[in-house]
Symmetry: C2
């Protein structure tokens, strides 16, 4: 069974060593097995999980929600709750995309105005 050292996980996930340890402390990822010497040995399933964590963090899910989601994931009877959580999050992501697009329009109007000023002054 392939395992990964902390630095390999850093390389593959883009999280820093400190962030990986922080997430483990916070319960965003289950306790990672250790070598006899105490070093963490990650497995493929951890990398997969961290990809999901990255997706959710990058879309703005707070640590507290991720903590909840992780806890739910340890109980096979919580599929509906997890689905709810992700659907709610999806709606929030959609809302922030919409808001970003709307504000981008204002921004581009402003840019167009500046271009008129700059071009007109030539």
């Amino acid at each position: 069974m392939t395992t990964f050292t902390p630095s390999q996980v850093v390389e593959r996930t883009g999280f820093s060593l400190d962030t990986l340890r922080y997430y483990e402390r916070e319960g965003l990822i289950g306790p990672i097995e250790r070598t006899a010497g105490g070093r963490r040995t990650y497995r493929q399933e951890h990398l997969d999980w961290l990809d999901l964590v990255k997706c959710l963090r990058d879309t703005g899910m707070p640590i507290s929600d991720l903590k909840l989601y992780t806890a739910l994931s340890n109980d096979a009877t919580t599929l509906n709750e997890r689905l709810d959580l992700l659907e709610r999050h999806d709606r929030e992501v959609q809302a922030s995309i919409d808001q970003l697009l709307e504000q981008q329009n204002h921004l581009r109007e402003k840019i167009a105005w500046y271009r008129g000023q700059v071009g007109g002054g030539a």
Copy 2:
């Protein structure tokens, strides 16, 4: 000339009183005129400016860049620099929209998977 009290500005811009004062301290908006008693009296141009500030903040421009942009706006010869700043920001906004859309795809795949599980278990 119409003027606005601080609480009217709160209502119209959505910024809190404390945030308005913080922005003024930080130089994101020029010093606001005062009444004899020391109360701020905002004018329409301030509301317009605050709309732009809101647009830029909501799209993630840091306070430090807004500070710079505000400083540049007090010098009529800086049109090109301001345009540059906004264009750079627009590219960053586009990048975060793109990234959000991409991560939203992953999220929706996960949601679809959950729906399969939940539906399949019925």
